[in-house]
């Protein structure tokens, strides 16, 4: 596999990086890996230097943990499970189905980034009893159809197939 960074050399390292609150896995070649390391070192050095400055000037530098607590304080929370949006940003996992409603506005841009779209398409729960009955009937018919095929009664099988198709069409049209 080629290096994700330069696309030239064979990747020999797999690293997990925190980017925009999401953990991403990247495959890197030794050269690019070295660059990431120096970048990290530069960051560490900067933190260390600023703590020296803080000691000299008497200014307080917030620790990472304090920043997290600060974050949690101002972050919206899910009314059902109590999860804060800032907690989600750290873990990547939501607390309960109601979190989606509570954080809908914040989640939309993230979902757009992940999936490229935010409107669901595809299967949906069978919400009405009529739809459920229709689905049950379709399943019965397809079992009968399988039986007819195994008995080589293709005429019956074809008739059953048409019935199933008609039910499926009705079901689709009945959906909002």
């Amino acid at each position: 596999m080629l290096c994700d960074e330069c696309n030239l050399n064979e990747a020999s390292y797999t690293v997990s990086l925190m980017m925009e609150g999401q953990i991403t896995t990247r495959h890197l070649c030794p050269e690019c890996m070295a660059r990431v390391n120096t970048h990290m070192n530069a960051q560490t050095v900067k933190t260390l230097l600023s703590s020296i400055m803080a000691a000299i000037t008497g200014e307080r530098v917030a620790s990472a943990q304090e920043e997290e607590e600060e974050d949690d304080l101002n972050s919206p929370a899910c009314p059902r499970c109590g999860m804060k949006f800032s907690q989600y940003k750290r873990s990547g996992k939501l607390g309960c189905p109601a979190c989606y409603e509570a954080f809908r506005e914040q989640l939309r841009p993230m979902l757009l980034k992940i999936h490229g779209r935010v409107q669901h398409a595809g299967r949906r729960p069978l919400c009405t009893e009529a739809a459920q009955r229709s689905r049950t009937r379709q399943e019965e018919l397809s079992r009968e159809m399988a039986l007819a095929v195994s008995l080589e009664d293709f005429e019956t099988a074809a008739r059953l197939r048409d019935q199933i198709r008609a039910l499926a069409r009705e079901e689709k049209e009945a959906q909002p």
């Binding site: 596999m1 080629l2 290096c3 696309n7 064979e10 990747a11 020999s12 390292y13 797999t14 495959h27 499970c81 990547g92 996992k93 939501l94 607390g95 309960c96 189905p97 989606y100 409603e101 809908r104 989640l107 993230m110 979902l111 992940i114 999936h115 490229g116 779209r117 935010v118 409107q119 669901h120 398409a121 595809g122 299967r123 949906r124 729960p125 069978l126 459920q132 689905r135 049950t136 399943e139």
Partner: protein, 328 residues
């Protein structure tokens, strides 16, 4: 079938959650248990048969790990073993994992290129369940999942492909980048990080929201077929331009697999890859189902359940030799 030369297996996985529970139940044993019994009861009430309920806590660890090796349950399910369970239908390779990352992970595996069959099996289970229970669903965001990367259809469609010549041509990095452009991802099926032991790759959809299940299945199938055509062309070229070297590699690998008395797993994968290539190109007379079943048979926990008295490396050599001698 042409597809079987490249496509080892197809799998569909649907993530579903109950509306009234938090996603993570690993520290709520009472709700977790309710989740297990609700699912099992819903299945029974819908008249679905053939499923066996297995609790991970207190279960036979070796047998459970063998299920992971067969791909019937996920390794992640073992991580929440205290509260997790699985409803397993061995005959159809369908499993309903309960209390993994989501409340339910409905999964079906088939051999070869068969995503539609796997999907139909999952949908049948889901339909049966949804007649008795309500899943968390939102008109805009679809089926709601613990991690927003799965929301929408909650569906992961994946193909396992055997691509030895594309690997040797050092094209898999580029393939991965191209696949990413259409919302798919390519990973090594076995091994850590960038490794793809046995030249086996898992091609699956990354994107789950805003595409229908059919669109997802079509995209994965179409890209899978393109990779298949590329690999088949490279195989034809190798046969035309470099037949002696290709045959040398394949027959040597066969010799090692049949002659070895001790074999490490790491040694097995590349040899297996060469012999499967030989079988797929009709240079060797082994059936592809036999070759593919060797993949799970040669795994440590599987070996232990069949050759309990032998050390692992010896058991693997025995197992592989017996299988190849039986031929088909």
């Amino acid at each position: 079938m042409k597809e079987n030369r490249i496509m080892v297996s197809s799998a569909i996985r649907l993530a579903r959650n109950y509306e009234d529970f938090p996603f993570d139940l690993s520290t709520s044993p009472i709700q977790a248990e309710e989740c297990v019994s609700r699912t099992a009861n819903a299945l029974t009430l819908s008249g679905v048969t053939g499923f066996e309920l297995i609790r991970l806590d207190g279960g036979d660890e070796r047998a459970l790990k063998a299920l992971v090796e067969e791909g019937l349950i996920s390794g992640d399910l073992m991580r929440t073993a205290e509260t997790a369970a699985v409803l397993l239908n061995r005959a159809d390779s369908v499993s309903i994992m309960i209390n993994e990352e989501d409340h339910l992970r409905i999964q079906a595996v088939t051999s070869g290129l068969n995503l539609q069959t796997a999907a139909d099996r999952c949908f049948a289970v889901e339909d049966a369940l949804s007649r008795q229970v309500r899943f968390a669903y939102d008109e805009e965001l679809g089926y709601l999942t613990s991690c927003p990367t799965n929301t929408g259809t909650g569906m992961r469609a994946s193909l396992v492909l055997h691509l030895p010549l594309l690997t040797r041509a050092k094209q898999m990095g580029t393939v991965g980048q191209i696949a990413a452009k259409v919302g798919l991802t390519v990973r090594g099926e076995y091994g850590e990080g960038t490794e793809a032991l046995g030249d086996l790759y898992d091609l699956s959809n990354q994107v789950t929201l805003g595409r229908t299940e059919q669109e997802i299945i079509s995209t994965v199938t179409a890209v899978g077929r393109q990779l298949m055509d590329m690999e088949l062309t490279l195989r034809e070229n190798a046969l035309r331009d470099d037949r002696l070297r290709l045959e040398d590699e394949i027959y040597r690998a066969q010799g090692l697999l049949k002659g070895a008395r001790l074999m490490k797993l790491a040694e097995f994968y590349p040899l297996w890859s060469s012999v499967r290539l030989g079988a797929a190109m009709n240079l060797l007379d082994y059936s592809l189902p036999l070759m593919d079943s060797l993949l799970s048979m040669a795994q440590p926990n599987h070996l232990q359940s069949f050759y309990a008295t032998l050390p692992e490396e010896q058991a693997r050599a025995e197992c592989v030799r017996t299988a190849l001698d039986s031929g088909r």
